[in-house]
C-alpha cells in the first residue's frame, strides 16, 4: 500500500508565527484604460475586427434589451426583469473566449453570453412572456433562460447550486473525452454559499475542466462586499483550494477575453479548474423589485458610470479604425425597433396548454398526475372564464 505523508511539503518554524497577510498581491488584469487607450505595457490578445464588432454590438444590444425590458416591467407588461448594465464586458468578453461546445452554467445576470451565442430577440421574449414557444415551457420567472442547442443550462433561482453542478458537468465532459469545458458564472454574494466551497474543492481534487467565473460587482442586493467577506475578494479563496486564479478588470472586454482564453486553455490542457474574479459594478438596480438608493450613493454609481465597459471598448475600436459611427447608429436603431416590435408580437403568444402542467415532472406522467390533470381539466371546463389563459384550448 502507498505510503503517504501529508507533511511532506511543510516547513518548520520555532516561533509562534501568526499569518495575517499570507497572500501575494492579486493584481487585476487591465489592458484598456478607462478611456479605451491600451496600457503601454499591455499585450493585447489577438482579436479580429469581426469578433470585436460582434462583441461590441452584443454589448450594445444587451444594454438596449435591458433598458426596454425594465421599461416593459414598469408598464406591467412583464412581471419581473433583471438587468446587467455595467457588467456587459464580463459576460460578453468571457463568452467570446469560449467554444460553442462549452457548457454555460450561469447565475442570472449573464444574458450577454446568451446573446453572444445567437439567442434571438424573439427567444428572449418567449421566455420573458412565459409562452408556449419558450423551450422551458414558461414555468419559471422571466430571465430564467435555458436552451440546449446553445449549450446554455436552464437557470435556477437558488444561488450557488450551479457551482458543484458545473464541476460534475465538466467531469462528465472529461470522461466522455470531449474537447469542451464548462464555465460557471456566479456573484461574489453567491460565493458565500456552502455550495461554492463544495464545488471549488471538488473541482480541484477531481481535476474538472471548469472555469469558475465570479462577477464581483460589489453588492449582493443591498449587502456590500465588505459585509460579505473579509478576505481579498473571491480570488484569495481559489488559492486556498489550490486552484489557478486570475483577477481581471471586469469592465475591460479585452482583459476579460484574454483571461478567459487563458483559463480555457489551461482547463483543457491540464484538466483543472481555473477561477476568474472579474471586478465590476452593477450599475443597474438588483432587479425591477429593487431600489439601490436605499443602500448606496449616487456619487458611487457615477464613479462607476465613468468606467462604462461599452464606451471603453467602443473607444478602443475607434482607435483601431474599426468603428463606423453611421453603421453603429443604424444598428442601435434597428435593435431598438426589433425589441419593441418583438415585444408587441410575442406578448400575444399563448401559454402552453394546460396538459403541460404535469409534463416533465417525470419522464412520463404517473397515475396520480394523470388523475390530477383530468380533474383540473374538468374543473376548467366548468369555469372557463376563471382560467382564461388555458380554458380556450382544453
Amino acid at each position: 500500500m502507498k505510503d503517504r505523508n501529508h507533511l511532506s511539503n511543510i516547513g518548520l518554524s520555532h516561533q509562534v508565527n501568526v499569518i495575517s497577510n499570507g497572500l501575494v498581491d492579486i493584481p487585476m488584469l487591465q489592458i484598456l484604460q478607462a478611456d479605451g487607450v491600451p496600457h503601454k505595457e499591455a499585450t493585447l490578445p489577438d482579436m479580429e475586427k469581426e469578433l470585436a464588432e460582434k462583441i461590441l454590438t452584443t454589448m450594445q444590444y444587451i444594454r438596449i434589451l435591458d433598458e426596454r425590458m425594465v421599461a416593459a416591467q414598469r408598464q406591467g407588461r412583464i412581471s419581473f426583469y433583471l438587468a446587467c448594465t455595467g457588467e456587459e464586458a464580463s459576460t460578453v468578453g468571457s463568452a467570446a473566449a469560449l467554444e460553442p461546445q462549452d457548457m454555460i452554467m450561469s447565475q442570472y445576470r449573464e444574458q450577454g453570453t446568451l446573446a453572444f451565442r445567437g439567442y434571438s430577440t424573439e427567444q428572449f421574449m418567449d421566455q420573458m412572456f412565459s409562452n408556449e414557444k419558450d423551450p422551458n415551457k414558461g414555468r419559471q420567472m422571466p430571465i430564467h433562460y435555458g436552451v440546449k442547442e446553445l449549450n446554455f443550462m436552464t437557470i435556477s433561482s437558488p444561488l450557488g447550486t450551479q457551482i458543484p453542478q458545473a464541476s460534475g458537468y465538466a467531469y462528465g465532459q472529461k470522461m466522455a473525452g470531449q474537447p469542451a469545458v464548462t464555465i460557471c458564472y456566479f456573484g461574489e454574494g453567491a460565493a458565500s454559499e456552502g455550495d461554492f466551497h463544495a464545488g471549488l474543492n471538488m473541482a480541484a481534487v477531481l481535476h474538472c475542466p471548469v472555469i469558475f467565473f465570479c462577477r464581483n460587482n460589489g453588492y449582493a442586493i443591498s449587502t456590500p462586499s465588505e459585509e460579505q467577506f473579509a478576505g481579498d475578494g473571491i480570488a484569495s479563496r481559489g488559492i486556498g483550494y489550490g486552484i489557478k486564479t486570475i483577477r481581471v478588470d471586469g469592465n475591460d472586454v479585452l482583459a476579460v477575453f484574454a483571461a478567459t482564453q487563458k483559463a480555457r486553455e489551461l482547463a483543457l490542457a491540464e484538466n483543472c479548474p481555473v477561477l476568474i474574479e472579474a471586478m465590476t459594478y452593477r450599475l443597474a438596480a438588483h432587479s425591477t423589485s429593487d431600489d439601490p438608493t436605499g443602500y448606496r450613493s449616487k456619487d458611487e454609481e457615477e464613479r462607476w458610470r465613468a468606467k462604462d465597459p461599452v464606451l471603453r471598448f467602443a473607444a478602443w475600436m475607434q482607435s483601431q479604425g474599426w468603428y463606423n459611427e453611421e453603421q453603429n447608429k443604424a444598428f442601435l436603431e434597428q435593435s431598438r425597433q426589433d425589441v419593441l416590435s418583438e415585444l408587441k408580437r410575442v406578448e400575444k403568444v399563448p401559454v402552453c396548454k394546460i396538459d403541460d402542467i404535469i409534463t416533465d415532472v417525470y419522464d412520463t406522467p404517473p397515475w396520480h398526475l394523470k388523475e390530477q390533470l383530468a380533474e383540473l381539466k374538468a374543473h376548467i371546463a366548468k369555469y372557463p372564464e376563471a382560467y382564461p389563459k388555458t380554458a380556450g384550448r382544453l
Binding site: 414558461g138 433561482s157 437558488p158 449587502t223
Partner: protein, 325 residues
C-alpha cells in the same frame, strides 16, 4: 389600535421584542441597514444598533448554524430566511441540529430561544422558487414548532409568542398578504397562543380547515357554499406543529365532514397528517371522506399558476361533492 399591514405588524412585534429584551438579535440577508427585501426589519438597525440587527453573508446554512450557536449561548436570535424556497440549504442545521439540540443533551442545552422567520407561498407570479410552502417538511421534525399567521393581528401576536416561547419556532409569513392584508393591530404588547386553532366561523354541515394565506380563499369558498345553504365551520389551524387536534376533532364530530386545503403539493402535505389523525379520532362521525384541496404534485409553475392554485372555485366544488357524498 392602528391600521397596519402584515409587514408593519411584524416590524412592530420585532421592535417590541428588541425593546423588551436586549438579548434579542435580528439578522439575515439584507435585513440590516436596508431593512430586508420586504422591509419587515426596517429601522431596526438604526434603533438597536449594528450589533443587534445585521446583514449576514449569503448563506442560509450559515445563518441557521450561527443562530443555533447563538441560541444555545442564551441569546434570542430571530433569523430571517429571505424566501421559504431558500430554507433548504439550512435543512440539516434545522432538522439535525435546532430540533434535536435539547433532546440529545438531556435538556442541558437548547435552541429554545430561536425563531426563524420566512415568507412563503404563491400567488405572486414567483414561479418555482418564490412560491413554495414547505411547512410539511418541517412538520415531520419533532422538536420544532411551526406557526403561520393569516392577518396582521395574528402576525404580531403570534410572532411575539414565538420569540418568547422556549422552543425553536419556524414562523412562516404569507408574503402574498404582506401588503394586501391590512387590519387593526394594538400598538401595545400582546401575544396569541401557540398550538391552538381558531374557530373563525361556526357551521354545522362541514368543517373547512386551512392556515395562513389560504384562509382568505377558504372563507370565499365558504361564502359561495353558504349561498347554496351549506353551513360551513371555518377553522384556522394557526400552529402546524404541535397542531390542535382536539379543536379540529370537536368540530368534525359536530359537522361530520372535513375539508383541508393548502397550496403545497398534495402528496405528503400536512393535510395528509390531519386526515390520517382525524379519520382515526372521528371514524364513526364521518359522513363523507375527508377531502384535500391542495396544490398539484408538480413544482410550482409560473404560466399555469392560476390553474395550479387551490382556489375558491376548486374548494367550493369539493365542498359540494363532500356534502352530496
Amino acid at each position: 389600535m392602528a391600521k397596519m399591514n402584515m409587514l408593519q405588524a411584524v416590524n412592530s412585534a420585532l421592535i417590541t421584542a428588541m425593546t423588551e429584551n436586549e438579548k434579542v438579535m435580528v439578522f439575515g440577508e439584507d435585513v440590516g441597514h436596508f431593512g430586508g427585501v420586504f422591509r419587515a426589519t426596517s429601522n431596526l438597525q438604526e434603533k438597536f444598533g449594528k450589533g443587534r440587527c445585521f446583514n449576514t453573508p449569503l448563506t442560509e446554512q450559515g445563518i441557521i448554524g450561527f443562530a443555533n450557536g447563538l441560541a444555545s449561548q442564551g441569546s434570542v436570535p430571530v433569523a430571517e430566511i429571505q424566501f421559504a424556497d431558500y430554507i433548504f440549504p439550512a435543512f440539516d442545521q434545522i432538522v439535525n441540529e435546532t430540533a434535536k439540540w435539547r433532546y440529545r443533551s438531556g435538556g442541558q442545552f437548547s435552541c429554545g430561544t430561536l425563531t426563524i422567520r420566512t415568507p412563503y407561498g404563491g400567488g405572486i407570479a414567483g414561479g418555482l422558487y418564490h412560491s413554495q410552502s414547505p411547512e410539511a417538511f418541517f412538520a415531520h421534525v419533532p422538536g420544532l414548532k411551526i406557526v403561520v399567521p393569516r392577518n396582521p393581528y395574528q402576525a404580531k401576536g403570534l410572532l411575539l409568542a414565538s420569540i418568547r416561547d422556549d422552543n425553536p419556532v419556524l414562523f412562516m409569513e404569507p408574503k402574498r398578504l404582506y401588503r394586501a392584508s391590512v387590519g387593526e393591530v394594538p400598538e401595545h404588547d400582546y401575544t396569541l397562543p401557540l398550538g391552538k386553532a381558531e374557530v373563525v366561523s361556526q357551521g354545522t354541515d362541514i368543517t373547512l380547515l386551512a392556515w395562513g394565506a389560504q384562509m382568505e380563499v377558504m372563507e370565499k369558498a365558504a361564502q359561495m357554499a353558504e349561498k347554496d345553504g351549506i353551513s360551513c365551520e371555518v377553522l384556522d389551524l394557526r400552529s402546524i406543529l404541535p397542531w390542535d387536534r382536539e379543536t379540529v376533532a370537536i368540530s368534525v364530530q359536530k359537522t361530520g365532514r372535513l375539508l383541508i386545503s393548502h397550496e403545497a403539493p398534495q402528496t405528503g402535505g400536512f393535510a395528509s397528517e390531519i386526515a390520517a389523525s382525524i379519520q382515526e379520532k372521528c371514524f364513526l362521525y364521518l359522513e363523507s371522506p375527508i377531502t384535500r384541496v391542495c396544490g398539484l404534485d408538480t413544482p410550482y409553475p409560473l404560466a399555469h399558476e392560476k390553474e395550479y392554485m387551490p382556489d375558491h372555485l376548486k374548494i367550493y366544488e369539493a365542498i359540494v361533492r363532500c356534502v352530496n357524498f
